[in-house]
Structures are given as C-alpha cells and as structure tokens.
C-alpha cells in the first residue's frame, strides 16, 4: 500500500510491499529499501536494513505511529488515500477564533475548579486543578475570554483527553 508519510516538516510518499521471504520492500520517493522487520515483543519492532540493525518502540497514534529509538521519539503521520481525503474535509488543527477547550491530557481527578461558567478569564490564569498519580497540575486559560461550558465538577474522575471546560473569545460571549 502507498502512504503519504509526514514527519516534522518532511513529507514523503512511501509504498510498502511484502516479499516472499517475509521482508518488506519500502519505496520512499522512488528509492527502494529492503527491510527485514520483526516484532519480538509487543510494541517492539526490530529492523535490519543492509546489515544495520535497529530496535524501536512503535506505538499507534492518531493518523500514524510514534517511533522511539535511542532517546528520540518521532511522531510519524502515515496517511493512505482515504485518510488523506478525510483530512482534507476536516480542516487543519484547532478551530481559529472559536471556543477553546481545556482538556486534561491524563486520567485523574478534578480537585478544584477555580472558575465558573460566565466568568471572565485572562490567558495564563489557573482555571482547574487536576490530580493524577499524586501530583496536582493547575491547568491555565490558553486565551483571554469567558468561561463557557464547565463539563466537570470537583471530585470527578476524568479520563485522559476529557473536556473540562471551554473558553469563548470575549466578542462571542
């Protein structure tokens, strides 16, 4: 299958073909490489290419894979035709001008709500405190604005990625 692969500013076309012997031929922008890739443990890929050997951690992320080796982590977007099309419709990352969402990136517990719906806040102001793994993290407003929906209450357990509250621009409030 052929993919558009993006990493940092880089964007290349990659096509993967399986060979009879279990190896993979990967054609990156018309340059073919044969890779002997194995999966000795869950989440671990071992690659041999022209004798050079690499053991990397591979983790599925949205639209691609996160590859870690030698202390460096690469977030690689890998898009096939279908995903590229979906992306085209969906637009870029983050809605400009609209409400901004304060989300927790980790599962934990809401220990304090420092603002309430309708309250005006300024960028950098603490709005909610979430405790996860015994550490408290104060999440701050990412913009000047007015607090809209507050989706959680103090004491709530929240999943990673959960919406906590929204902050609308001043002119929309």
């Amino acid at each position: 299958m052929a993919y558009e692969v993006q990493l940092g500013g880089l964007s290349v076309r990659a096509e993967v073909r399986e060979q009879e012997n279990g190896c993979f031929e990967v054609v990156v922008d018309d340059h073919a490489t044969v890779v002997d890739a194995r999966f000795p443990e869950p989440g671990v890929m071992h690659l041999v290419r022209d004798g050079e050997a690499f053991e990397v951690d591979v983790r599925a992320i949205e639209d691609g894979h996160e590859v870690t080796l030698y202390g460096t982590r690469y977030s690689v977007q890998v898009l096939d035709e279908r995903k590229k099309a979906l992306r085209g419709f969906g637009g870029g990352a983050g809605g400009r001008g609209g409400s901004e969402s304060i989300k927790t990136s980790m599962p934990g517990k809401v220990v304090a709500l420092l603002v309430e719906s309708g309250q005006q806040v300024s960028a950098g102001q603490g709005v909610v405190v979430v405790e996860a793994m015994k550490m408290e993290n104060e999440l701050r407003a990412t913009r000047d604005g007015v607090v809209g929906t507050v989706a959680v209450a103090e004491g709530d357990a929240v999943e990673g990625g959960a919406l906590l509250l929204e902050i609308a621009p001043l002119d929309e409030a």
Binding site: V5, L7, G8, E41, P42, H65, Y70, G71, M133, K134
Partner: protein, 507 residues
C-alpha cells in the same frame, strides 16, 4: 558458615510499589516472613506477588488504604507480625503511626518518634539544627497561616523564595516563587498538595539559594549510640523538586567539603538520638557553602547508589538495628568503591511536560548483565494504576569510575524494553550523553534549563528509520483491518500477519 539468626520472624511492609518489593526482598533474604498490605487497586501488584502473606486494607485511594493506621495495625496484630517497615512516603515519616505501632507492642523499623517529630516539621528541624551547630538556609522559624504575613516575610527575605510544606518531603507541597504576584497561587497549591500528601497543610518560607546542588549524606545509627555516615549522594538532577538522577559520590565535592558535610550529618543524627537509616540533605551553593536543608527520617528512594558503592545492604541493616542489635559495621568499614548512578523510571511522558501516563504495560524486559540493578514493581501486562506515585522502577548501575558508570547507564537504558505506557527512559538517554551532565557541571536548575532545548526528545538522526518503521507498522495494521473474518480458506501468511500485528500491540 553458620547462618545468622534472623532479627524478626515476620515483618509487615506498610507500603506498595518498588520500595515494598525492595523491603520484601530484604526480608526474604534474612529468612523473615514478609507480609504485604494492598489496596483494592493493587491486588495484582508485584509487592503482593512477592510477599508470603497479603491482606487488603481498603479501596484504591491511599487515604482509604495505605494511610489507614488502624486497619494496618489490625492486620499486623491479626497475622502476628513482630515489626512494621514503612518504606518511604505514606506513613514512613508519620510519628503518630510510629507511636501507634509501639503502643501496639510492635517494633517500629525506623527512628524514635521523637526524632521523627523534630525533623518531620521542617520548622522545628531548622531550629534544632541551628542549635546543634549546623548551617541552615535563612527563612521563617515557624509555619505561616496568613497570606499577607507570608507576603511580608517573603518581601523581607527577598525574592526568589521557596514555599515549602512544614511536613514536607519529596518536593510535594513545594513551590519556587519569583515575585510577589506569584505568591498567592503558590501558597494555594503548596497547601493543597501538602494537605493531600501529608494530612498537614502548614507551610513555611525560605530564602531561595540560586543554582545550588542538592547533596545529601546517608547516616546510620543504632540503639547503642553508634552513628556513622555512608558518604554522600548528589541528587541535583531534579524537576520541580522531584529527584530524577542520583549518584554517589558527588562528582564535584572536594574532600574537605565532604569531610565537613559528613561530619555535620553525623552530628545531626547524634543530636536527635537517631536510630536506623536517615538522610541529611544539604544545599551546596556555587561558592562552596553548604546549608542544612532537611533530614529525611527514613530510607530514601535513592539508597541503592549508596549500597552499590559501600557494599552495605541498608534494608538488612535497618532490620538488624530495629531488633536492637548493634550495627553490623563501623565507620572504618565504610569505603567508597567506584561510582554508582540511579535514574528513576516513571510513567511520565517527557515529551509532554512529564505528564503522568498510567496504563497497561505491553512489554517489559529490564536490562541485565554486569553491575546493572533494577529495583522495580513492573512486569509484562501490569496495569499501572492512576492512584499513586508514577515511580515504576529504579535503574542503578555501578562502574569503576564515573565515566564507566555513565557508559554502563547508557547501555542499560537502551536495553530497557518498556512499551504500552510512555516512560521517561528516552529523557535519561538524552541526559547521559548531555555534556553538562557528563562533565558533572549541573545544579538543581539543570533540567528546567535544558529541557526545552538540548534535552528535547523530538530530534534525532534516524528520521529514515522512523519513516520505514511507521510505514511498515501502518501497512500491517491495514492488512489486518482488511482481514476482518479470517476463514479456513485464508493462507497461513495472513494468520502470521495477524499474529505479528497483535504482538505489535495494535489490537
């Protein structure tokens, strides 16, 4: 060749995680029956798996389980434990618990409650140590309740100041405050964290010493008036006052300062009639001055680096002296051989501001080979709970000298397989090859100074390998998605593919 008689027949370990495993190992080695306690979230934890007896003490939150003094004592009495080892954290520095243990007729594997009280309150500790002749950091001599008073005192001392929990330790309830407008938020955060962590929200204020190193001295005392030190550890590689890397000896300490610091530490232990393992922490200022910071009246997370350079098993020694025996070594027996480094492996994402990353471990294979030690609570398939500290394991290495230890640590870190959850292993790989660390030229500001720049995880020389790996992984994932219902007519190769995929952790 006759084996020593065991100091106790049964010991309850009132903790969880890697330290509970560490203490249980020590007990098993001495022929002591180790008893684990666990919360409902920890039924499958390694400390439970390695104990000879195990009792559930309550629901997941530590306030309802590991901090339940009455419940733990009830278990101890019920199972016939003779002594309680508290590990570190939780109840380890809680004098009320220590007294309750003693009142129940059990042995407390720790210092006398009086010594814990003096040192447990950072404010009285400062006073006592000043009286004992130790140099202390300028600051308040009593806890501060009132925000306005705090502002006044901070102004008086001069910014930057540190807000610290009176009952504190491990960086919890601690905040650096650079200017007056940050003070209110810092006070609120510190009080709340301190309250949650220690059940005591009192805080105090101290002068902030800029660019200090954190150097601490391991002390050890018995009930017969013997007090020794086991050299120092440098724990300056910290982030938000959480130690990340520790080593012994300190790479920059001259012998005169070392002698002064270790002597003063023994003096502190003697002044409070200490017993067991303890740590006297100092700030080492760039000008070579050192200040008493606090004394931790327990075994430290970083005790293994001291064990590896001295050859002394601190947990065994704790058990021996708790049983009333004289310590099994004297000051002359304690020699520093080589160099040891520890890194704390946590369920944290170093690429995303070290946010906690609990979850299920997919693969786990610790490094092995010469002079590599792993103290941990991990196994393949282990579900890291969200309720507790993110520390999963400690990786400790020894080498003939510091350069050899760093080289060994690099090797061991790259050998460490841990997938399914994100960890800070990649961060340590960066540190071990970062010039300021390699030359020993770092202080407590090191991590924050370089985190966004030279210690960033996002750049490397293996872009092409990453692209190949990601493309192959995606290819296999999509192949699998196409083969929704494998029927009998499918070729074996698609089964092999599905197997591969499964092992890749995609389903």
């Amino acid at each position: 060749m006759k084996p020593n008689s065991r100091p106790f027949s049964k010991v309850l370990v009132a903790n969880r995680g890697e330290i509970a495993v560490r203490v249980i190992r020590g007990c098993r080695e001495l022929g002591i029956v180790p008893v684990a306690v666990y919360s409902e979230a920890d039924r499958d934890a390694l400390h439970v798996r390695q104990a000879f007896e195990a009792y559930c003490v309550g629901p997941a939150p530590s306030s309802e389980s590991y901090l339940q003094i009455d419940r733990i004592l009830e278990v101890a009495k019920q199972c016939g434990a003779e002594a309680i080892h508290p590990g570190y954290g939780f109840l380890a520095e809680n004098a009320t618990f220590a007294r309750a243990v003693l009142d129940a007729g059990l042995t407390w594997i720790g210092p006398p409650p009086e010594a814990m009280e003096v040192m447990g309150d950072k404010v009285t500790a400062r006073t006592a140590m000043t009286e004992a002749g130790l140099p202390v950091v300028p600051g308040t001599t009593e806890p501060i309740d009132d925000d306005d008073e705090a502002a006044r005192i901070a102004d008086e001392i001069g910014f930057p100041v540190m807000v610290k929990a009176s009952a504190g330790g491990g960086g919890k309830g601690m905040r650096r405050v650079n200017s007056a407008d940050e003070l209110a938020s810092a006070l609120r955060g510190a009080r709340s964290e301190a309250g949650n962590a220690f059940g005591d929200s009192r805080i105090y204020i101290e002068k902030c010493i800029d660019n200090p190193r954190h150097v601490e001295v391991q002390v050890f005392s018995d009930a017969h008036g013997n007090h020794v030190h086991l050299l120092e550890r440098d724990c300056s590689v910290q982030r938000r006052h959480q130690k990340l890397v520790e080593e012994s000896p300190c790479p920059v300490l001259d012998q005169a300062t070392r002698d002064r610091m270790t002597q003063v530490a023994v003096q502190a232990a003697r002044a409070i009639d200490y017993r067991g393992a303890g740590t006297v922490e100092f700030l080492l200022a760039p000008d070579g001055e050192c200040y008493f910071l606090e004394m931790n009246t327990r075994l430290q997370v970083e005790h293994p680096v001291t064990e590896l350079v001295t050859g002394i098993d601190l947990v065994h020694a704790q058990l021996e002296v708790a049983a009333g025996r004289p310590m099994p070594f004297s000051q002359e027996d304690i020699q520093c051989s080589g160099h040891a480094i520890e890194v704390r492996i946590c369920a944290e994402d170093p690429a995303d501001n070290f946010r906690p990353c609990p979850g299920q471990v997919a693969s786990y294979r610790p490094p092995g080979g010469p002079w590599v030690r792993v103290d941990g609570a991990l196994y393949p398939g282990y579900e890291v709970p969200v309720y507790y500290d993110p520390l999963l394991a400690k990786l400790i290495v020894w080498g003939r000298d510091r350069a050899a230890a760093i080289d060994r640590m690099k090797r061991a870190l790259r050998e460490f397989t841990l997938t399914g959850i994100r960890s800070n292993i990649p961060f340590f790989v960066q540190v071990m090859r970062h010039e300021p660390f390699v030359t020993g030229n770092y202080d407590t500001g090191y991590v924050e100074r370089y985190l966004g720049s030279e210690l960033r995880l996002g750049e490397g020389h293996h872009v092409e390998v990453a692209i190949l790996a990601a493309a192959i992984a995606e290819h296999l994932a999509e192949r699998k998605a196409l083969e929704t219902v494998p029927g009998p007519a499918k070729s074996t190769s698609s089964w092999a593919m599905a197997g591969r995929l499964k092992r890749l952790g995609r389903s």
